[in-house]
């Protein structure tokens, strides 16, 4: 098929199942804004931290302070409310803001001190640092591509975690175990048949369980995307970027 088929109008509408944190970031209500900010922070802190380490060559302590400082400053000054979806994706907007923030800090010779007046968030920098040490960035990636790739990785990581939680809460631990063993496997020798034997199931049951949990996974990913995009167009563009397909 060709890539040029185009379509518009009501066919592209999709049911809005979640609030958009980007939209809520403009709310006058402090609590709503706080919740929206937490969602944005959760979705972006790790790619932001790694990006600062790579692009700005910051040491880990400096990068921690800059990451904390960037998000604290953005919340305090309500920067995310100024996002215009017609100009760029939120991801690009956030990265541009981050570059501006770090550049200003460097120019002013600031060293953001931990424990000052700034908000501090409980972020697992140690794990992020371990990942950086264990998985070096490919040399052919631009910092911008690296930021995007790490964001994709982080989005899927969050989605897998949410899926695990959803499966546990609904009494479907076995579904998630199969998903973890097959779809997150490092060993190419794992098959439906080997899983069936390992878990004492029929291969058809393994097939059905995996189909169901993958359906949930897709929904979790799209819900997450919906949360961190402002408009239908941006949602579809990000879904296309993340999954490579158009979504309803």
């Amino acid at each position: 098929m060709d890539p040029d088929t185009d379509i518009g109008g009501p066919l592209h509408r999709f049911p809005i199942t979640n609030h958009s944190a980007i939209v809520d970031a403009r709310s006058d209500d402090q609590l709503t804004r706080r919740r929206a900010f937490d969602t944005i922070l959760t979705s972006y802190w790790k790619p932001a931290y790694k990006y600062i380490r790579l692009k700005w060559q910051a040491d880990n302590e400096d990068a921690k302070d800059l990451t904390q400082g960037f998000f604290a400053n953005a919340f305090e000054k309500n920067h995310f409310a100024g996002y215009d979806a017609t100009k760029a994706s939120f991801q690009t907007f956030l990265r541009t803001c981050l570059d501006g923030f770090v550049a200003n800090e460097r120019k002013a010779g600031h060293r953001l001190k931990r424990g000052g007046n700034m908000d501090h968030y409980q972020l697992d920098f140690a794990t992020a640092e371990n990942e950086l040490a264990a998985h070096a960035a490919a040399t052919d990636l631009t910092p911008e591509d690296y930021f995007h790739r790490e964001w994709v990785r982080w989005m899927f990581t969050i989605a897998v975690d949410a899926l695990r939680q959803r499966c546990e809460e609904s009494g479907r631990k076995l579904h998630f175990q199969l998903f973890e063993r097959y779809d997150l496997r490092e060993d190419a020798n794992v098959s439906y048949a080997s899983l069936a034997e390992e878990f004492g199931l029929e291969p058809a049951t393994v097939n059905n369980y995996l189909a169901a949990v993958r359906r949930d996974f897709r929904r979790v990913v799209l819900d997450k995307l919906r949360e961190i995009t402002a408009t239908d167009e941006e949602f579809r563009a990000e879904a296309r970027s993340l999954l490579g397909v158009d979504v309803k």
Binding site: M1, D4, G8, P10, V160, D161, L184, A211, V245
Partner: protein, 319 residues
């Protein structure tokens, strides 16, 4: 949280975008391609033990009523029994609400791929004419394709021409055998409300591009066929004025200026292939003579050879 490797990410991307066929009689095999309207997958029909191509459309949640209507409309299209038509032979809804159409899996080359390997104008025109004939057959049964383009015309292994992807076709009138008890409907149901644009921008008629759904008739397909012809002619160094005129007539902005049916367009292509005058172009005397000479080249050469021999004998006998 587990570290996800690049391989993990690629796999998760794949499973998140692949359709869930678990509630159907199909087993996912692989993705064949995707575009703005949906994605086509190769799947195995477990009941009939055969491969099929399945197009999954980007559609919103649908109601039971709409689903039933879509099934009935797919049935109408499935009745288009013509060797040049690959019909929709199944329609359904996936668990995530997306609608799918199952089609015969055609092995061969798309017309754009075929044209890249076959530069002969006559060969291309013959293939094009066969596509026009298939579309004309559908029109005669009240079905407008609405998304004709080189990518939706396949050339099979034996040179056969097949028009596929009737998933967004529109039913303009009741078929000869009325089994629906319904008035005019479209295969994509409520999605064809005014303002909705269905088709491919480079190949759609102006009225289609404006989303004038109720205005669409056979001439919208004639325009698209003209655009396909334009695609086939554009890399030809000397396509000929008659071929260009046919193309221009088919692609006229005002639909009243186009061929009124795909049959008329096909007939003009046939005349062009037979070196007969075409309705789209008025020749001057020199062009008429040139065409006649081109058509009767063997006869002209024979007469010329005879005359030359006569002149030679007259000349030699006088000496």
């Amino acid at each position: 949280m587990k570290w996800l490797s690049d391989d993990n990410l690629d796999h998760l991307r794949t499973i998140a975008r692949n359709p869930d066929f678990s509630a159907t009689k199909y087993t996912f095999v692989k993705e064949l391609g995707h575009g703005g309207m949906g994605t086509v997958y190769l799947a195995e029909d477990r009941e009939l033990d055969r491969l099929v191509a399945i197009k999954v459309l980007n559609t919103p949640e649908i109601t039971e009523d709409l689903r039933n209507r879509m099934v009935r409309e797919a049935q109408i299209i499935a009745r288009l029994e013509h060797p040049g038509i690959v019909p929709v032979h199944d329609v359904g809804v996936l668990p995530d609400g997306r609608v799918f159409y199952a089609m015969k899996y055609v092995r061969g080359s798309r017309l754009d791929e075929y044209a890249a390997q076959h530069s002969s104008l006559r060969d291309r025109l013959r293939k094009f004419q066969a596509a026009c004939d298939a579309v004309a057959f559908a029109h005669a049964h009240g079905v407008i394709h609405r998304d004709l383009k080189p990518q939706n015309i396949m050339i099979g292994s034996f040179g056969e021409v097949l028009v596929l992807d009737w998933g967004v076709a529109k039913i303009t009138k009741k078929p000869t055998t009325d089994y629906t008890n319904e008035s005019v409907q479209s295969v994509d149901g409520s999605n064809t409300s005014a303002g909705t644009v269905i088709g491919t921008r480079d190949y759609m008629s102006p009225e289609q591009a404006r989303g004038e759904v109720s205005q669409l008739d056979e001439r919208a397909d004639v325009y698209s066929l003209g655009a396909v012809l334009h695609f086939l002619l554009k890399d030809q160094s000397r396509p000929g004025k008659a071929a260009q005129a046919i193309c221009a007539k088919a692609m006229a902005s005002a639909r009243d200026d186009r061929y009124s049916t795909a049959s008329e367009l096909s007939a003009d292509i046939g005349r062009l292939l037979d070196a007969e005058p075409v309705s789209a172009y008025r020749e001057n005397v020199i062009e008429k003579v040139g065409r006649w000479v081109g058509k009767n080249r063997f006869l002209v050469l024979l007469v010329l050879a005879y005359l030359l021999m006569r002149i030679f004998f007259i000349f030699t006998s006088r000496r």
